[in-house]
Assembly symmetry: C2
Homo-oligomer: 466 residues x 2
């Protein structure tokens, strides 16, 4: 018979009294003196494993069932009955327990039914989704990702896959990974002795993208509402708990929109995603609140309920300066806000999510729209309690002459951006977009403070996959 | 007032008689002798532009409206009325036409209201989504991508983002892009004189992934039903119309599944995606059928209706040999099927989509499940009329001893796969998965035969972005 997911069995979607088959991995086995074994079996479909009661009368009771250990895979068939014990509503009275895969050496199986440190689990990344914590992270991450796609799809935004391998650097910064097929042991040289990237795969030097924004602007200026959701890369050797070399970014870009429209979009977006996760993953979120971050649910609920405060960067600096608080970095007009400043604004001063608007021109990128007095650009950051900046965005400079002047002032090579500039020649319109680091969002939702625990594969320098 | 999407205006979602604002780019302008101008305006939300009727009484009629040319951006407000002309149901009687952005030199604007060659449009990739064809490709691609996510989400599959930068090669083949931050002009060397990848970003040699399959198997063996949908890379210098260096792949992986289950999943999946595109993009698909590929709609409909034929590879070879047809490559047991063979099977012999099962061991990868007589592995290809192979998949070798023996026979370095082998030690289960090239799918759906026209950015060797 076809197997049922444990989620459906536990949720009451399958009528009590039916015969069901479930398949999964043993979490625990407990033998009762009365001649039973209690197995808990998980298939990843929901937070809880299901309890399977195996009677001593089963053919393979002594030969197999009593030898089951955590991690063994089983296929259990029996009657789904209302559970008499505490906790779960349903359990299975097994008619058969088929062992599909043993654990070679139960004593060295890394995922024992006890608490493991996250650091240890990063070293057994291929098995850590079998734990409560990383099963929950996987389900929440999935729910958030689908909510993001749904949010934009429902509003008529097109998902655009911007190039991963790129010839340009969206931020004008360095710290990019080079992509090459040149034989490094035997590099081709030009007559001048330089490396001849003309012989490389794309006939030029290429890198991994740091952002899809510039590319997606082209689609925005044809299709109006678009977004990217794909991997981006930063070769920053900041081995902190907050940065990744490879991470997924969500970048909507909206035509005929200004900074106010963008702030409204960001607020609606965050609330939508948080609501979806709370609705779809209540058990997982309850686990995070109980074991990882006590405020995990509350803080999402408060972001959902609270109107986001809008405040000008200049006013934010005044608030910080008047706070009487001693910061590690002194707040001053012209300097970027630090996390300590952001958290003071949202957690102490406003006690609500805050959108800071109109940052000084010098600390922001060339593509952000210049204000009339040219001291500020139409940039915004969305700050959330408990983390600080979670979204950054800007209205783009849509005026050809201003964009070219800004690029000249910053000494940027306009040739590499010819198509980007070109967009301003042909029916340019106001447009705006933001960027959200997906792993940072997952880290915020789950309370998993080390961002390496918000990705499926705990990549760290020195170990690319697991 | 808030703008309406042209899609909503044309679909009758906005009541006739309302005052609406639309924003977009001018496709055409025609001046009537009776003192009107007819503009067609597109915002990308649907295939058709909307007609805007501008009266000579408007303030800026002579100064601006009569100077509008294709590509200019406008904001038009007026009454939405039922159209008297043929074609569309609604048009706008404008009370105002605000010009937001001019076209610098109308004569050199690349997207004129005439037919352009696809080759020409690849050279102006940043503007080609303003054409009928690439607007339609964008909407169909988006609809297909969302249908893929929805299909798996509805069935309880988790979306797993597998690593893009990887230390291993999933296919045991070469042709990978190297990812590095080493200074190529000044490469670090080991004492032996080799390049010292220990000094590279990840402390080892790393590449762009060719497939997320091996990684996603780890999640499959914890969470049961999972899939990847992300970019993959092949540094193959086959500059054909069918291959890309960077493309998106869909890779579901299902625990407790065998090859039959996988074939059923692939059939259900393809039908679901095609149904969604036909339902969501009827105008775009009508355009493809009219202008690009006459059978575009029919062939999707026939795939949806037809039960897919299952045939053993051995039988497929016999059918080909008995066909009496002269092929460029002679069909023979032990050789891979060529496109000509695949198309004969699906278009001529069976006149239906075909799933070929159980390929010879020697032509398939090490991770595919060996049959009892060891001559074949549990691999499958799904063949669609008009294109040939569209999906390739396999049941995986879940038996530790067989997998290790196969890797030894093929001379693979087991150390790089330690975690992959490890999965077979800890509650291994039968599992199976397939891979689908997303651009190939879009190319098939739209009939855009050059795969460079199925990607948002027409990347070609020598030009990484546009």
């Amino acid at each position: 018979m076809a197997a049922s997911s444990i989620k459906h069995c536990l949720a009451g979607d399958v009528p009590a009294g039916s015969t069901v088959t479930v398949q999964g991995w043993v979490r625990t086995r407990r033998d009762s003196k009365a001649g039973f074994s209690f197995l808990t079996v998980s298939d990843g479909s929901c937070f809880d494993p299901i309890q399977v009661v195996a009677r001593a009368e089963l053919d393979n009771y002594a030969s197999e069932i009593q030898k089951l250990s955590p991690g063994c895979s089983v296929r259990c068939t029996g009657e789904l009955v209302e559970s008499r014990g505490r906790g779960q509503a349903f359990e299975i009275q097994a008619d058969s327990v088929e062992v599909m895969g043993w654990v070679e050496d139960p004593d060295t199986y890394p995922i024992q039914p006890k608490q493991h440190s996250f650091e240890f689990l990063r070293d057994v990344g291929h098995l850590r989704p079998r734990t409560n914590t990383f099963g929950a992270v996987t389900r929440v991450r999935n729910a958030a990702a689908h909510a993001i796609h749904r949010f934009f799809h429902e509003r008529g935004y097109y998902w655009i896959n911007t190039p991963i391998i790129t010839g340009s650097d969206a931020e004008g910064a360095g710290n990019m990974f080079r992509v090459s097929t040149l034989d490094m042991a035997n590099l081709p040289r030009t007559d001048a002795g330089d490396i001849d990237f003309g012989k490389d795969f794309f006939g030029r030097e290429t890198f991994l993208t740091v952002s899809g924004q510039l590319n997606v602007e082209a689609y925005c200026l044809s299709m109006s509402n678009v977004y990217t959701f794909g991997p981006t890369f930063r070769a920053e050797n900041s081995n902190t708990t907050r940065h990744l070399a490879e991470f997924w970014m969500v970048e909507p870009e909206v035509a005929f929109a200004d900074l106010d429209d963008l702030a409204n979009l960001a607020e609606t977006f965050l609330k939508y995603v948080f609501e979806a996760v709370l609705a779809e993953c209540p058990d997982d979120m309850a686990f995070f609140a109980q074991r990882i971050e006590p405020t995990a649910i509350e803080r999402l609920e408060s972001v959902i309920k609270a109107p986001f405060v809008r405040v000008d960067y200049a006013e934010a600096i005044e608030i910080l300066q008047a706070s009487g608080k001693t910061f590690e970095y002194s707040p001053e007009w012209g300097l970027d806000l630090q996390t300590e400043h952001e958290r003071y604004l949202t957690e102490v001063h406003f006690k609500a999510p805050v959108i800071v608007l109109n940052y000084p021109t010098e600390i922001k990128a060339f593509y952000m729209r210049l204000s009339d007095d040219e001291r500020t650009v139409a940039a915004m950051d969305v700050l959330a309690p408990g983390i600080g900046e979670i979204i950054g965005g800007a209205q783009r400079e849509e005026r050809l002459d201003v964009l070219e002047r800004r690029m000249d002032e910053l000494g940027l090579d306009k040739e590499g951006y010819d198509w980007y500039i070109d967009l301003r020649r042909y029916g340019t319109v106001p447009h705006a977009g933001f960027g959200l680091g997906f792993e940072r969002l997952v880290s915020y939702i789950t309370g998993m403070s080390n961002i390496r625990d918000a990705i499926p594969y705990p990549r760290v320098p020195g170990r690319a996959d697991f």
